[in-house]
């Protein structure tokens, strides 16, 4: 993990009203054998970056589409910023911003024309529109290409414009579908930075992603969705704790000599050892105690360590463990 998620920046006065509240939400498409969403319930606190993880076809996009008002649920209720989605759609649409996975912009218009168009469609006019267009171009660092047609932009620039178009009306809730998929590391870092800035300003952000490192870097609240169901949700730390075990993982400078696994097995509390080249995985009853004996054994054998970890699983391990065994959080 290279960066830690930001703390919640939700305003205390609004903390009691979640940004998004989903109750028993189900969606079954016509002709489908099983529901795309099956009684999903979710509370997304105000002012957080909320990550939605799940394998392909898990139901992430369906859920995001319902939250954006693009799909109607078969049953269940959605409240955004305290407003019932089915009853107060126009009001909700004003506080909601959406950033789709593919750049949802007009390629034959310029960046400025795109921002002006979507700004006007959000009801922004006159001096405020001019100001917002300028701010969005600045935020996307697109001032130099503002009057160039989008069709000539690189993939990264298109993503930047895609992001800031979703912000033209200063939404309080921002929903992003895989915002950094298939872009270069610089553009990815740029988008991450903008999301952190928005979070610091109090914007509630919901994003779906496949990238575990992105979720770990950005999100402090997460939900894992699989086969239309939320199988785990909570803060990043809480999720990592769910898969805590007595496993110790080591990476050595060189592979250990034959018979070294037998030495490790003799250490108190160790019950299984697996050696794969220079990588060793040791299962223990109490990793905190066993680690001392293991370090001593390595020193005696003259083996140098590259890395050693224990105590928590990585998000990827949690994700894999949960999605391989659905229904066992």
């Amino acid at each position: 993990m290279t960066d830690s998620p930001l703390p919640d920046s939700g305003e205390a006065g609004h903390a009691s009203v979640p940004a998004i509240e989903v109750e028993n939400l189900s969606k079954t498409f016509k002709g489908a054998v099983r529901p795309a969403l099956d009684r999903v319930s979710l509370k997304i606190p105000r002012g957080v970056i909320f990550g939605m993880l799940g394998p392909n076809g898990a139901g992430k996009t369906t859920l995001l589409s319902i939250l954006c008002g693009l799909l109607k649920p078969s049953s269940g209720r959605v409240r955004l910023d305290g407003h019932d989605m089915s009853a107060e759609t126009p009001r909700i649409k004003q506080v909601l911003g959406m950033v789709p996975q593919e750049p949802a912009i007009y390629p034959t218009l310029t960046a400025r024309e795109n921002l002006q168009y979507f700004g006007r469609m959000q009801g922004i006019t006159g001096a405020r529109l001019t100001q917002r267009v300028h701010e969005c171009l600045q935020m996307g660092e697109l001032e130099d290409v503002a009057d160039e047609r989008v069709e000539h932009f690189s993939g990264g620039f298109k993503r930047r414009l895609n992001l800031v178009v979703g912000l033209i009306h200063e939404p309080q809730i921002l929903i992003l579908d895989e915002p950094t998929v298939a872009i270069d590391p610089h553009s990815r870092a740029f988008i991450h930075q903008r999301l952190r800035e928005l979070h610091a300003r109090g914007v509630s952000i919901v994003l779906s992603t496949h990238q575990m490192d992105e979720a770990e870097q950005l999100c402090h609240h997460l939900a894992i969705i699989n086969q239309g169901r939320i199988i785990a949700q909570g803060t990043l730390d809480a999720l990592l704790q769910t898969q805590r075990d007595g496993c110790i993982r080591m990476q050595l400078k060189r592979p250990p000599p034959a018979g070294f696994d037998a030495i490790l097995r003799r250490i108190a509390g160790v019950y299984a050892v697996r050696v794969e080249g220079a990588r060793i995985r040791v299962n223990t009853e109490d990793a905190g105690q066993a680690v001392f004996g293991i370090v001593d054994a390595l020193r005696e054998a003259g083996l140098a360590l590259v890395s050693l970890s224990f105590g928590t699983a990585s998000l990827e391990e949690v994700f894999l463990a949960l999605t391989e065994h659905p229904g066992t959080p």
Partner: protein, 422 residues
């Protein structure tokens, strides 16, 4: 409402900007239909009913230089359907004449043989002297007509009949002259009138085509082609319209608009209004070209009739029908390729069925019945009401209502599909 109308204006501006930046599409929208009308109206002039300016190039090879050749040249030169060239002796020969016809220089060659007039006069004199026909010294004069083999047989028959009529007139004149000569010899001082045409018992047949019959009228080339290609161009806009919708759907910009407080009719109106305007410009440009440019190129001028309101009504209804079809295709097609293939196929089938390529009146009865299924046929009938039958708003109302009904059905189907997708 004011807010929504402002958003509609913004959407129309955006869509117009996108369309104007697509030069290839602009050529397709405006230049192609006008070119089609020009080319086909000029090329197919002979294939339609009235052709006041249509001409067949004709050579009269007058080896005689007498009255027969003069009468043939004078009669055909007075007919606007022929462009007559007279050539005297010597004869270029059969092969050269055939070559001229093959090259399209002449559609007909009429050969008046040397001594034709003298031979005719001699034969008439002998007949007047009560010689039995089998004892006449001169055979009947043989006038020959060579014709382009590509010409329809009814055209050849009509020219041969006309030629026979002309020769019959010459024969009557020569017979009259011979009778006067004979009577003078018997002591009757008779004279023939100097202008024989004024002495005719029958006036020329007056051609009076009817203009208020509802069916069976064969339009001229331009009367058929101008509205036919206007309608086809209008309906072909279903292709870019449906593709543009699908592209927006694929790009996600349509979904983005759905997440905003923008009414559905604003999105729809913003998208379709520029196409409606394009349709009207297409109609206006084709009409203007047919009225003012086509005659300059030697084609027939389109008489636009006296009912501009009827034309506006037809143009608007046809456009709304085309837009409705485009939206319906966009809702049912999954990809832009599918929309292109489907909308262009359906428009071509409706056009073929609706008498766009071949006028409905020359179709067999069964095809004429089937043609009534095509909205393009309704539109074409409406235009022919105005251009050929001198109709007005009331006359085109059934066709316009049909087109508007078609548009409504398409819109309802599109909305049902859209709701089904949510």
């Amino acid at each position: 409402m004011v807010e929504s109308l402002k958003k509609l204006a913004t959407s129309v501006r955006k869509e117009t900007r996108i369309i104007l930046r697509d030069r290839q599409a602009l050529i397709l929208f405006f230049v192609m239909p006008v070119l089609f009308v020009l080319i086909l109206s000029l090329a197919l002039r002979d294939a339609f009913g009235e052709r006041p300016g249509a001409t067949f190039p004709m050579l009269v090879l007058d080896l005689d230089g007498g009255e027969v050749g003069k009468a043939v040249v004078t009669a055909f030169a007075a007919n606007p359907h022929f462009k007559v060239e007279r050539r005297g002796p010597p004869s270029p020969g059969q092969a050269a004449l055939e070559q001229d016809i093959r090259k399209g220089r002449y559609r007909f060659v009429v050969i008046v043989p040397q001594g034709a007039t003298a031979q005719a006069k001699a034969r008439i004199a002998q007949l007047a002297a009560n010689f039995p026909p089998e004892r006449l010294s001169d055979p009947p004069v043989q006038i020959r007509m060579l014709a382009d083999p590509a010409l329809r047989s009814d055209y050849r028959f009509m020219v041969a009949t006309a030629l026979a009529g002309i020769l019959h007139g010459v024969e009557v004149k020569l017979t009259g002259e011979q009778m006067v000569t004979n009577l003078r010899a018997l002591g009757y001082p008779l004279t023939l009138p100097s202008d024989m045409t004024r002495a005719r018992a029958f006036a020329s047949v007056r051609d009076e085509p009817l203009h208020s019959v509802r069916s069976g009228v064969i339009p001229s080339s331009v009367q058929q082609n101008a509205p036919a290609w206007t309608l086809l161009a209008m309906f072909f806009l279903t292709v870019p319209l449906s593709v543009s919708f699908i592209k927006e759907r694929e790009q996600g910009s349509l979904a983005r608009l759905q997440t905003m407080a923008v009414p559905g009719w604003v999105v729809l109106g913003g998208k379709t209004t520029p196409y409606f305007v394009i349709n009207q410009i297409q109609m206006l440009s084709i009409l203007l070209v047919s009225v003012y440019v086509l005659p300059l190129l030697g084609g027939d001028r389109l008489d636009p009739g006296n009912a501009p309101l009827a034309l506006i009504l037809l143009g608007a209804s046809a456009s709304l029908a085309a837009i409705g079809l485009g939206i319906a295709v966009a809702m049912y097609a999954r990809t832009a390729e599918q929309a292109t293939a489907f909308s262009s196929s359906i428009v071509m089938i409706m056009a073929a069925l609706g008498g766009i390529f071949v006028p409905k009146v020359v179709m067999p009865p069964l095809m004429q019945e089937l043609a009534t299924l095509s909205p393009l046929a309704w539109g074409l009938d409406g235009f022919l009401d105005v251009f050929v039958r001198g109709g007005g708003v009331r006359d085109v109302l059934p066709e316009s209502l049909g087109l508007l009904g078609f548009s409504l059905v398409c819109h309802v189907l599109a909305v049902l599909r859209y709701q089904n997708r949510l």
